[in-house]
């Protein structure tokens, strides 16, 4: 007997290359659960990824069209796809290094333009694939391979940044909150305009082993202990929120989607009814 979600996956190359207990597989599981619940035809989904372990979530495992692009450029490629194929579901899945680090500017401006993409940023606090270098979301004070005497930088609150930039939908969940995460992934897939979820996930191998979280279970317990809801966070001071993971929905708007505005302008110019 087989798992009912294998129909969305390229079975012949399973299991994935991810390490045991890595959160990347849980994100893949949640993603296909969301697609299954919404009864979306995977052939109408174009997934776009960058470089890193998290970029290996849809590519090559998800049975749909996939663009595996260069490091940091997933959103730039995805924007091009959305402009040309406005009716397709364009989904970007990549890591914190990819989307918040090298590709950070693409992310901010795609959110500002409100391009109709669904973006799942897998924040595992580190550059996992290349051996555990510090990333823009690495917590202050931890040891990584490039901060052997501890990290002197403060982490970026990437979901809050995307919300401030103007995205139509923004949320943050962890792999511990799997049912909430799946429901949120469904909301994001149904959003017109830029939809973004920061998925706090575990890298037990390149990050966890240096910070005392050696396996997936330890990480998920850590997420459980240290998460606070958006509502509760509003009653807490900045000091109290230090080291906490604020989970829940951070933004929801109804601004007009970018490619829709573009098409409207083109149509107006064609018919001579525009400015």
């Amino acid at each position: 007997m087989e798992h009912h979600l294998l129909k969305y996956l390229r079975e012949e190359i399973l299991p994935t290359t991810h390490c045991p207990g890595c959160g990347c597989g849980q994100v893949l599981n949640a993603f296909v659960n969301a697609i299954d619940t919404l009864r979306i035809d995977p052939r109408g989904i174009i997934s776009v990824t960058g470089i890193g372990c998290s970029s290996w979530i849809p590519s090559p495992y998800f049975k749909g069209d996939t663009l595996h692009t260069t490091h940091g450029r997933a959103i730039a490629f995805a924007t091009g796809v959305k402009v040309i194929r406005p009716d397709s579901n364009v989904v970007v899945i990549a890591g914190d290094g990819d989307l918040a680090g090298i590709g950070g500017n693409h992310l901010i401006h795609a959110a500002r333009r409100n391009v109709g993409l669904t973006v799942y940023l897998v924040n595992n606090y580190i550059y996992g694939m290349t051996g555990g270098q510090v990333s823009p979301t690495t917590p202050f004070g931890v040891v990584t391979s490039t901060t052997p005497y501890t990290n002197a930088e403060y982490p970026l609150k990437i979901a809050e940044l995307v919300a401030a930039a103007g995205a139509n939908y923004v949320a943050r969940w962890t792999t511990y909150h799997i049912r909430k995460l799946i429901a949120s992934m469904e909301e994001a897939l149904q959003t017109k305009g830029f939809a973004f979820i920061e998925i706090v996930s575990q890298c037990p191998v390149a990050y966890g082993r240096r910070v005392g979280l050696r396996d997936g279970v330890a990480f998920m317990e850590y997420f459980k202990e240290n998460s606070v809801s958006v509502r509760k966070s509003k009653t807490m001071s900045e000091e109290e929120l230090e080291g906490k993971i604020v989970v829940g929905r951070l933004a929801r708007r109804e601004r007009v989607e970018f490619t829709e505005s573009l098409r409207k302008i083109i149509e107006e110019q064609r018919t001579g009814t525009g400015a």
């Binding site: 991810h18 390490c19 045991p20 597989g25």
Partner: protein, 72 residues
């Protein structure tokens, strides 16, 4: 009914840890890939909550409705 697909299991034990019942335990022997997969201790302990299925990073454990409970 709990089904374990040993081909995909990497032995992370997340399913065993988060099972609210006592349905699963670590196998004493390694699977074909050299990992300690979970083993069903007692199907009757399973409430079909699907926590294991949803948490598994490798699609290696899942729940199917058994014919009996579907009938009854």
């Amino acid at each position: 009914m709990i089904i374990i697909d040993e081909r995909y299991c990497k032995g992370c034990s997340i399913c065993i840890h988060f099972c609210p019942g006592k349905a699963l335990e670590v196998s004493k022997e390694v699977n074909s890939r050299g990992f300690y997969a979970p083993k069903v201790v007692d199907q009757a302990e399973c409430t079909s909550c699907k926590q294991c299925e949803l948490y598994c990073p490798d699609f290696a454990i899942f729940i199917v409705e058994d014919a009996e409970s579907a009938d009854g």
